[in-house]
């Protein structure tokens, strides 16, 4: 897509009206995430990431997704485990940071079930979104030059006409759908993120369709009280889904910590295909919605513990440590 096509798309498809976009996770996925969609998730793979939508994609058995794995962690791994992804553009995937490699993701790539189609660095991926957000065909950058990652990307090198030195041009990236989990949003989609925004300030403008999931829906007056806190204005947004603890077992800064017990169970079960199915059955297929999942992972007692943990009222445990 060149910038003029991207502009035309915005002109024709993006709603500038104040209408409620509030819907259920299931409606949001039905409307905007199709087989073979190119999708990107906001947050940082297991931090402020919309697990609620991940679950719903799995429940609806969406197939052949192409995934923009700019720091993808638990998000992509669940989708791969459930067979929803066929191709991946990778800056970071198949790993769980300190928890180690992700058995499900690794298995899928090593057996060829999932194909890695390109490689990027995190900054390169961020700048792809930024180029798109700015309505530009590319952004120049001084990363990935000289490496195999450059060769496996679709970047180019030109000579900078000002300094006459070589410079990499990173092409814009326009996901079909982005899903971003936020602290608060109104029914129109005006969204505020507390803490670091990671790539979401850019991703929100790069994507063609944008689903916001939010810890809470607040009145617009609350947004207007601190407009400098707004990360995403409503006219970028196509769906608003309210789901407290929607990033579980991920971390939601200032609200709840990682559920390391849950990660341990997940990483252990996904070592085998049988275990993977067992996990999906227990936590996703076997519950009606994310509320059901929240009960199954331990209900309010567990959630309260995770909130206490985030406030450092108790010490974290890491059951996956060998």
């Amino acid at each position: 897509m060149d910038p003029d096509e991207a502009r035309e798309w915005v002109r024709k498809n993006k709603q500038r009206e104040y209408i409620s976009k509030l819907m259920s996770p299931s409606e949001a996925v039905q409307k905007f995430i199709k087989d073979s969609s190119y999708v990107a998730f906001g947050g940082f793979g297991h931090v402020r990431v919309s697990i609620v939508i991940i679950h719903e994609i799995i429940r609806q058995n969406v197939k052949n997704l192409i995934y923009a794995a700019k720091t993808a962690v638990h998000d992509i791994d669940l989708l791969i485990a459930a067979g929803c992804v066929s191709r991946v553009e990778v800056a970071y995937a198949f790993g769980h940071e300190l928890r180690g490699l992700s058995p499900a993701g690794r298995r899928a790539v090593e057996t060829g079930e999932v194909e890695v189609v390109s490689e990027w660095s995190n900054a390169a991926f961020e700048w792809r979104f930024k180029a798109a957000a700015m309505g530009l065909p590319f952004l120049p950058a001084r990363v990935i030059a000289g490496t195999d990652t450059f060769k496996k990307s679709s970047s180019k090198i030109i000579r900078d006409p000002f300094s006459n030195k070589p410079i990499v041009l990173i092409p814009a990236c326009y996901p079909d759908v982005a899903v971003i989990h936020v602290h608060r949003a109104d029914i129109y989609g005006n969204a505020q993120i507390l803490g670091h925004t990671i790539m979401d300030f850019e991703l929100a403008r790069a994507a063609k369709r944008l689903i916001i999931t939010t810890e809470e829906v607040v009145p617009t007056e609350e947004i207007r009280r601190q407009p400098y806190q707004t990360t995403i204005p409503f006219f970028l947004v196509d769906a608003v889904v309210e789901q407290p603890f929607g990033s579980h077992p991920g971390n939601m800064p200032y609200i709840y910590a990682f559920d390391e017990e849950h990660f341990a169970e997940y990483l252990s079960l996904t070592k085998t295909r049988e275990g993977t199915l067992q996990y999906l059955q227990k936590y996703i297929y076997g519950v009606e919605d994310f509320w059901g999942y929240l009960e199954r992972i331990g209900g309010y007692r567990k959630l309260k513990y995770l909130m206490d943990l985030e406030k450092k009222r108790t010490e974290p445990i890491y059951p996956w440590v060998e």
Binding site: G95, S121, A123, I144, T149, T197
Partner: protein, 256 residues
């Protein structure tokens, strides 16, 4: 009293001693975080720690599982975006980049993408993450990793993060910022630098319990050995104490 120590503790201590005060370090997951906190607590109170997801100078009291978690912005001076911190790096503000690695070669090129063929890998690793960016843009890059013949290789299976690429001048020729590149490699056997002219890996220091023989036996390429090789002191009691304090669960630092 803490008198014994593990190879990991020696590595972390050695790495912590490399960092300088009044400098900025961009840290990757795991050992780089612990080493940077040890350095800050004991040697460099004004060492400023930056995380790729946007956390700048948090008041870290614990190891974090993720370089994007709440810990990385906990009482930070700024919680911003990846674009912001990567732009700072590109602008020249990052003195030290601090990474882990799966494979490295004589020029300090790093692989964290695949073992084997890229299309059908033997082991698929996570990819660059922010590593390429840190290795491209920081003034000096420190790598901390396990050393053996499969990890210290003649040619990495895939260049994820640029070291000196094919040798002197090749970073600059490809458009990477000038005067940047690998600075130190810390392993369980010793600390390495790079020869000022040839840019090849060069032994700088051993540990009390490692030898020159260990160095070469655990590398598939020849490592330059200068006449004088330092032997580092073992981890101090203070260093060990801080490590255990910030990793009480023993995620990286073995519990005993």
């Amino acid at each position: 009293m803490l008198t014994t120590y593990s190879p990991v503790e020696m590595m972390v201590a050695a790495a912590a001693r490399i960092l300088e005060d009044k400098k900025i370090v961009f840290v990757g997951t795991g050992m780089p975080i612990i080493a940077s906190i040890v350095a800050k607590r004991l040697y460099c109170p004004n060492l400023l720690i930056i995380f790729e997801a946007g956390g700048i100078d948090p008041l870290l009291d614990r190891l974090t599982v993720s370089v994007g978690s709440s810990y990385t912005i906990d009482r930070a001076i700024m919680a911003t975006s990846m674009d912001y911190v990567m732009s700072l790096a590109q602008r020249g503000y990052i003195d030290y980049g601090f990474l882990g690695a799966a494979q490295i070669d004589r020029y300090g090129n790093i692989n964290t993408t695949v073992i084997g063929d890229w299309r059908r890998p033997k082991v698929r690793l996570p990819g660059s993450g922010g590593a390429n960016d840190v290795g491209s843009l920081s003034w000096k890059t420190i790598t901390i990793m396990r050393q053996d013949k499969l990890r210290f290789v003649d040619r990495v299976d895939y260049v994820t993060t640029p070291g000196y690429l094919n040798g002197p001048g090749s970073r600059e020729r490809t458009g990477l910022p000038i005067n940047t590149g690998p600075y130190r490699v810390v392993t369980q056997i010793g600390v390495y630098g790079f020869h000022p002219e040839t840019k090849e890996m060069m032994l700088l220091a051993l540990y009390p319990n490692t030898t020159l023989k260990d160095v070469q036996e655990n590398s598939s390429f020849k490592i330059i050995v200068p006449e004088k090789v330092e032997v580092l002191d073992p981890p101090t009691i203070e260093e060990l104490k801080v490590m255990r304090e910030i990793d009480p669960a023993g995620i990286i630092i073995p519990r005993r």
